[in-house]
């Protein structure tokens, strides 16, 4: 296998991702780490934004503290994963930062890079949250051309769904 795209949104699940490479899937020649900045923060409105509105949003927050903070967070997350993965023996790692709708951006990068597999985390959202704001992993799974691996993080199973994952990710900010 040549390339695996790994989409990361927080630092919480690097051990889980590493375990996947060591035990379950063949180590690829190259790993593409993607982080998508959510410009709209924690709001649920991203699904309702069209291309034009999203572009306006991008323009208007350029150079603001909010954007700087997002960039810094993205760098932190990506370098964390990069370090973890290279400690685990994967040397060829490319990092990509995008902004906008996570599932769209992940799919775009996957197509550009011609990834053979996409790995996404499980968001741990509740049913209602999913209904309202959608779920990146589900959207990716639905529209991807290549196989998608849904990694399971802490408490992402059926039993501990409600307050795990997402909340923790927000706490890091």
């Amino acid at each position: 296998m040549k390339k695996i795209l790994v989409a990361v949104d927080g630092r919480k699940n690097s051990a889980g991702i590493m375990e996947l490479f060591q035990k379950m899937v063949w180590a690829p020649e190259q790993v593409v780490l993607v982080h998508v900045e959510q410009l709209e923060g924690n709001s649920m409105m991203t699904a309702m934004l069209g291309e034009a509105e999203l572009a306006t949003l991008k323009e208007s927050i350029k150079g603001t503290e909010h954007k700087d903070a997002l960039d810094e967070k993205a760098e932190k997350i990506l370098s964390h994963y990069k370090k973890e993965l290279s400690n685990g023996g994967l040397t060829d790692i490319k990092t990509v930062i995008r902004e906008g709708n996570p599932s769209d951006e992940i799919l775009k990068v996957a197509a550009e890079e011609k990834a053979d597999l996409i790995i996404v985390g499980c968001s741990g959202k509740t049913r209602l949250q999913r209904l309202v704001s959608g779920c990146a992993s589900r959207e990716v799974e639905r529209n991807a051309k290549v196989p998608v691996l849904i990694a399971k993080g802490n408490g992402c199973g059926e039993h501990a769904h409600i307050w795990s994952g997402r909340e923790e990710a927000y706490a890091i900010r």
């Binding site: 379950m24 053979d116 499980c122 691996l149 849904i150 059926e158």
Partner: protein, 169 residues
């Protein structure tokens, strides 16, 4: 890795599990090959059935020709995939037939067998169908205690191209 659960049915979406298995996944010690019989046929009512109703349905179908046909089909599907996997060089394969709601049964078997990974095909249901009847891989992804790989076959490619074209236009 010790055990992988591979869930298959007779839709073309299931074919993708073979390429996923041979190209992406490290060989496990054992494969559990699962097919879930859909007692309710193609109807969309399965989500509305409770456990009690489902077990009544199971009982009333016991011994009927319909159930026999389902069993025969399940055997055929499992044999087909078993042979394909064996051709790939794998020896230890356990086949399991269950009846009921596919995503639930897949997760139950995954737990009972203590598997490390689940491989499912992607379902070609789109739009409304998917909204009404749900989608096995989606439900599995949400409920499963272990990582899930959703295979992709060529049929899904066309749909995406159409969508991309619509966006650029």
């Amino acid at each position: 890795m010790k055990k992988v659960l591979i869930a298959v049915d007779d839709t073309s979406g299931s074919k993708a599990v073979l390429s996923v298995f041979s190209n992406l996944v490290r060989p496990p010690e054992e494969v559990v090959l699962l097919h879930v019989e859909r007692l309710e046929g193609k109807s969309l009512m399965i989500d509305m059935l409770g456990d009690a109703e489902l077990s009544t349905l199971k009982e009333s179908l016991e011994g009927t020709e319909y159930k026999e046909a389902l069993d025969k089909r399940a055997e055929r599907i499992l044999n087909h995939y078993k042979k394909a996997l064996e051709d790939g060089g794998l020896i230890r394969i356990k086949t399991v037939i269950r009846a009921g709601i596919p995503s639930d049964e897949i997760c139950k078997v995954a737990e009972a067998e203590n598997v490390d990974l689940i491989v499912v095909g992607s379902n070609e249901k789109r739009g409304l169908d998917r909204l009404v009847a749900g989608c096995v891989s989606k439900d599995v992804e949400r409920k499963a205690p272990v990582p899930v790989i959703i295979g992709k076959c060529d049929t899904s490619e066309k749909t995406l191209e159409v969508k991309e074209a619509a966006v650029t236009a």
